[in-house]
């Protein structure tokens, strides 16, 4: 009899927890998506419709004008915007490729070898993540000037590469740690050189890690603002985060246009992320949880 009452009590308390969990998730989801929904709704309004009080919660006359204006290559605004978009795509892609090429051997070494100073090096890599971009702005700007890279995409790629590397190495190391060393040893006994074992045995197994690292680098480069804002002053070189700012704050802010621009700017990273979510999430948590 007591057992029955006890289990009934427990049941009720579990349910209470579960329901408060659900309520919490609903509220949190609202907090998360409301701003994005409002961004999209605003982007479908005319400038006049956006500037009304109280606001039109749903656009009375929804229009895609803001989007067509931004994506129309014959107009001045469209031309500039597409140019920024292309610059962002170029810089992010090159950064990503280089980051993977440099991080793969480094991460492999950190995972496999015990060389003197290995720990020191690895923590130097991690600690780098802790210093703010602003601190590096002045010296890097001077360095870029000395290298003749100011107002080129090279300055951004070099910077993003450096600041993306610590994390890329860390993420990849987590994956290499999970690949049993016996696999390579077996390959070497079968006559493969260490390099061959690396290329033919380890590399294919670490593909998920490489995908995750690539998404991470790409998103990081795509979203970066501070260096792009400092290193690039020529309109033609600007990337999206800097470019859209130039656009809309010249006179009165065109809020629907700005919302459409932020929407377009967010689409590539959000799509990339949602499609490859599982790699991304796994890589991010690998290092923190495994210990």
């Amino acid at each position: 009899m007591t057992a029955v009452t006890e289990s009934a009590v427990r049941r009720r308390s579990v349910d209470w927890w579960r329901w408060s969990g659900r309520l919490f998730l609903v509220l949190l989801l609202g907090f998360t998506v409301m701003p994005m929904i409002w961004m999209i709704i605003t982007s479908l309004k005319t400038g006049f419709a956006a500037m009304q009080y109280p606001p039109q919660w749903w656009p009375a006359e929804p229009t895609l004008d803001n989007y067509t204006r931004l994506l129309d290559p014959s107009g001045r605004i469209g031309q500039d915007f597409l140019h920024y978009f292309w610059n962002s795509l170029w810089v992010s892609t090159i950064t990503t490729i280089l980051a993977v090429v440099v991080a793969v051997p480094a991460a492999y070494a950190f995972s496999r070898f015990r060389f003197p100073g290995r720990n020191f090096l690895f923590f130097a890599v991690l600690l780098r993540n802790m210093f703010p971009a602003v601190v590096f702005l002045v010296p890097l700007f001077i360095l870029m000037k000395a290298l003749g890279l100011v107002n080129t995409h090279g300055s951004l790629i070099l910077t993003y590469l450096t600041f993306g590397l610590p994390l890329a190495i860390w993420l990849l190391k987590g994956f290499y740690d999970n690949i049993p060393i016996q696999l390579e040893q077996a390959a070497r006994i079968d006559g493969a050189t260490r390099f061959q074992a690396f290329i033919f045995v380890v590399m294919p197994l670490s593909t998920p890690g490489i995908i995750a690292t690539s998404i991470y680098s790409f998103i990081g480069a795509w979203n970066e603002y501070i260096y792009a804002y400092t290193f690039l002053t020529k309109q033609s070189q600007m990337t999206l985060p800097v470019g859209i700012q130039r656009f809309f704050s010249e006179n009165a802010t065109d809020w629907p246009g700005l919302m459409a621009a932020t929407f377009i700017m967010s689409v590539p990273v959000v799509v990339l992320f949602l499609v490859l979510q599982k790699y991304f999430v796994r890589a991010l948590t690998e290092g923190a949880v495994k210990h």
Partner: protein
């Protein structure tokens, strides 16, 4: 484990790049902090001033105000991001239909650029046409237009909300992974012993999450301390300096007022703070490593 002279070759490319782009700026910043450098940054004309820049920093009227705001910003952002992330991780731990989709949606703010987020929230907070103010009016909480970010008493907190929106899902994803390492058998054993849901959470789950929580909190603290984009774009540190935090202040000193030496002195102090945090970070990360290496 094998060792060979060639092992360094694997790390060499990464090291080389980082040496140029990291070691040099650090050295340069430290040097700059001991000199008075003309606005043009022409290094030939700099004069050695010892610790003058540092005493300027520590005695300036705005130093404590900015420091206090930085502490509020960092502590509140970290606290609420962690709590929301922990709540979400616990609520998402049990499998249900649509969980992956929900997790994906919750992670979007973390993926989109801070620039986009800042503009969207700036529009939401707009004092004349903002949706949040209109919503508060509609439900009768306020009357007339509401000023969130053009008002020096609320601006810092309004920005903290944006920051929490942007980064709580980072804590969520870390803690979700952490939860998977809590052994189901322990929870069940506690349940058999009559522990309530709260007791199971507090005495079984939380101690198991300690490692991940430490790393997550440290990463959040570092990230918040170093935030720049949200205050810079949304308020530019204003109104009347009410959203000025260390980083935006350094930027203003160096780039807007060409006060290079003082800005560099701030940056060096920031280095030192980060070093202390970094020490704890590394310790939290390596606690398991040492155990494994010893085994």
């Amino acid at each position: 484990m094998y060792t060979s002279r060639f092992d360094y070759l694997y790390v060499a490319p990464a090291l080389l790049v980082m040496l140029i782009v990291i070691a040099y700026p650090v050295y340069y910043t430290i040097e700059l902090s001991f000199y008075k450098t003309p606005a043009s940054l022409s290094l030939a004309d700099k004069t050695f001033t010892g610790l003058d820049n540092y005493s300027t920093v520590l005695t300036s009227a705005i130093f404590w105000k900015v420091t206090w705001q930085t502490i509020i910003w960092t502590v509140l952002s970290t606290l609420f991001s962690f709590l929301l992330g922990l709540g979400a991780a616990l609520a998402l731990h049990r499998a249900f239909i649509g969980r992956a989709l929900l997790r994906g949606l919750l992670l979007i703010p973390w993926v989109v650029s801070a620039v986009a987020a800042s503009y969207v929230w700036k529009w939401l907070y707009h004092s004349d046409f903002g949706a949040i103010g209109a919503l508060l009016n509609a439900v009768g909480l306020t009357k007339g237009p509401v000023n969130f970010i053009d008002n020096s008493t609320t601006s810092l907190y309004a920005l903290i909300v944006v920051n929490v929106w942007k980064e709580f899902s980072f804590a969520m994803i870390m803690l979700m992974a952490g939860l998977q390492t809590v052994p189901e058998s322990l929870l069940r054993a506690a349940q058999v012993d009559g522990a309530s849901a709260w007791q199971r959470f507090w005495h079984v789950t939380m101690p198991q999450l300690q490692g991940v929580s430490t790393v997550t909190v440290l990463l959040l603290v570092v990230q918040n301390f170093n935030s720049f984009i949200i205050p810079f774009i949304m308020t530019g540190g204003g109104p009347v300096g009410s959203t000025q935090i260390w980083i935006t202040h350094i930027y203003e000193l160096a780039f807007l007022r060409q006060n290079w030496g003082v800005g560099a002195a701030y940056a060096v102090l920031l280095f030192l703070i980060m070093m202390v945090l970094g020490y704890f970070y590394v310790r939290a990360l390596t606690r398991g490593d040492d155990k494994r290496a010893g085994a």
